[in-house]
Amino acid sequence: MQHIPRLVDKRILRPAQTALALELISKMDLIRLKTIARLYARGLTPEGVWEDLLQEAITRVLTGSRRQPEGVTMAAFVAGILRSLRAHYWRRARREPREDNLRIGHQSDEFVALDLADPTPGPERALDARQQLTRIKELFAKDPTALKIIDGLGEGLSAEQIRLSTGLSKTDYDSARKRMRRTVLREGLTCEPK
């Protein structure tokens, strides 16, 4: 029987495997980052981009293009890269020019320079965001307390402010956050379409 060579060489490690082999990152942190990548990939196309997002973030760590600040855990560090990559992909997908490209005026006229960047999202982005918000809320559809917390988080409230506005006790609030964490972790572990 003729041997058919494979195009994918299993001997070439993926960035996540390399980071794992070099003990830059633990197995558990990789799973945490997978969950976070799946969160930040929401609303980005094509489907499955979370994988690229995560491998790209780890590549930046491996190549040294991003440096880990002191006192920041590896998971938090890579999560920060994922966040900025999301912003980059989002801008690129919507073909938005970078904010610094929209400046007019001479370099010397620092005080006269006019920034034309429009901070408000276009209707398409707003619609995408609303759809993703709905999908996130669907994850907690059976948990009314979690939904209240989600609304509070969306409004930028602190834990204390959410507790005050919803009338939750500290125990109830903490239990709800724990349930939410478990739901998010479960969702992150799967590879099903969002």
Partner: protein, 112 residues
């Protein structure tokens, strides 16, 4: 009790929620991760566990994992036609003259 209702742009609200959930994940203990995996009947001690899909192996099977380069290319060709991406030329991208059909690289110098 709050008296003022402010409308937060959905994109801003989404980012705040994603950031908050990401923070929750960072703070999740190893035990919580294991419990979540157990809920899904995943064994984190197994290298081939579905939990590692997309991390140490591709989340979705790649065509090239099963077929040879040429076979993969032929199988991808119909989808490329649909997507409008021209398929790779079999002769290594050699260009032909439209009029004579002679490869431009082999055309004699000064020839018409």
């Amino acid at each position: 009790m709050r008296t003022k209702v402010t409308k937060v742009p959905s994109e801003k609200a989404l980012m705040r929620i994603l950031d908050a959930l990401a923070q929750e994940v960072i703070e999740a203990s190893d035990e919580e991760l294991t419990e979540a995996a157990t809920d899904l009947r995943m064994d984190l001690n197994t290298r081939e566990s579905a939990a590692f899909a997309g991390l140490t192996y591709f989340a979705r099977p790649q065509l090239s994992e099963f077929f040879d380069v040429e076979v993969s290319r032929r199988l991808q060709a119909p989808s490329e036609r649909i997507s409008g991406i021209p398929p790779a030329e079999p002769d290594g991208g050699q260009r032909h003259s439209k009029r004579s059909q002679i490869p431009t690289a082999k055309k004699p110098l000064g020839g018409k």
